[in-house]
Amino acid sequence: MREMSTRFGAKPGGYLWAFLDPVSHIVFLSVIFMAIAHMPPLGTSFPLFFATGYIGFQFYQAMAGYLNSAVSGNKALLSYPSVAPIDTVAARYALQLVTTAIVAIVVLGYIVFTVRHPVSIHLPPILEAIAAASLIALGIGLANTVLFIMYPIYEKLYGIITRPLFLVSGVFFLPDSLPPIAKDVILFNPLAHIVMQFRTGFYPQYRAAGYDGFYVWCVAASLMFVGLVLFTSCRARLRDR
């Protein structure tokens, strides 16, 4: 299985990019916000604040992006009858989960050890946020592999619609501190909840007002359901391409 993962998942450029992307985002956000504000909304460390936001978000974003092309990117291998389309998705899911987890441990570990105040890490909310984020990504990825093939125009629309996702997921602000109306709108986005929950694992004093775990898991379950149904009913067409 490990073999399968690396085979299906082979990324050009290697793992360097997996680190470069979050690190550059975190540094960039920290520099900009340090110039305009004295203190981050939580704690005292800008890098820690943005890292907890961005990496929590990445468990969804990197996963969804990678899964969307699981089938189209492994077309050649699907001509072996013993390789099913779902195998490519499962392998990429496992590989991406491990990759982002390693990135999280290295990047967050580095920041935690370099900030002046000790950080107390509470694992359960972190793991739950990761599980929810990656399952939402899996549901969307399953649906998208099918829909991208059937409706190429949808792929373009999807790209446009999901671009601002980063801005409205509470990566560089706290939904709690928004005006009530804006907060209500933002909290329709399950990813905002996930980022909030991810942060509670690093900031014991953070109360994450408005976080609704039930809502997150409902969204995750429905997306998984839709994704699996679409994927199963169209699996014959997936090989065709």
């Binding site: 073999e3 085979r7 082979a10 050649a76 291998l77 001509s79 013993s82 390789v83 090989r239 391409r241």
Partner: protein
């Protein structure tokens, strides 16, 4: 992407006997390659079923089924794993057979089409299948390699059968004893490859 739907098999029931190699004939676009994919199991029938006994290869084509970013060797390892054969043995066998030299460790996308074909042929010869599904590939590479691969393939055929698509009637006569003609969604089995070739040729003359 929009495609054209075409009936390939319409209410057909055929048993492919074990121990005989079969040549598959039909005009361009009749669905010979599609039929091979159905037999292999990479395509599902809209209705009906395929009952397979024995170990069947994937359809062997010119291009092979390789992940371009991985080296030839890594691709061979992958195939060995999914078919449950000894990895190191297969890697060594293909290294010797395909004569790729240094390219064996280079990404497949840098290969020439001849190299890809040699790699594809080597991998398939390294695994013992009961049935080989062959799509227009029996002779690849230069004269020496051709001779070697034909000899290996003939040896394989003492234990294995082949289901072969080819437009070259000479090749079909060479490898196959029986034949199937695919025409207008009908699949007709002939005990004698020569008879199948004759029917196919008269089909071709009608249009």
């Amino acid at each position: 992407m929009k495609g054209v739907r075409k009936m390939i098999l319409d209410d057909v029931s055929v048993t492919f006997p074990r121990g005989k190699s079969i040549g598959l004939l039909g005009r361009n676009g009749a669905g010979k390659s599609t039929l091979l994919q159905i037999i292999a199991g990479t395509l599902e029938l809209d209705r009906g079923r395929v009952i397979r006994q024995g170990k069947i290869s994937w359809p062997l084509g010119f291009q092979g089924s390789f992940q371009g970013n991985l080296s030839g060797e890594q691709n061979v390892r992958f195939v060995a794993r999914i078919y449950g054969v000894d990895t190191d043995e297969l890697v060594a066998y293909v290294a010797e057979f395909a004569e790729l030299g240094q390219f064996y460790h280079a990404p497949v996308r840098t290969y020439s089409s001849g190299m890809k074909a040699r790699l594809a042929f080597g991998v398939s010869m390294g695994i013992n299948f009961d049935y080989y599904l062959v799509d227009e590939i029996t002779a690849v590479g230069d004269t020496n390699f051709k001779r070697k691969s034909q000899q290996t393939f003939k040896e394989k055929l003492s234990d294995s059968d082949v289901i072969m698509v080819s437009h070259s009637t000479g090749t079909l006569r060479d490898y196959c004893q029986t034949g199937i003609v695919l025409e207008n969604g009908q699949m007709t089995y002939y005990d004698d490859i020569n008879e199948a070739i004759a029917v196919h040729e008269s089909n071709m003359k009608r249009h």
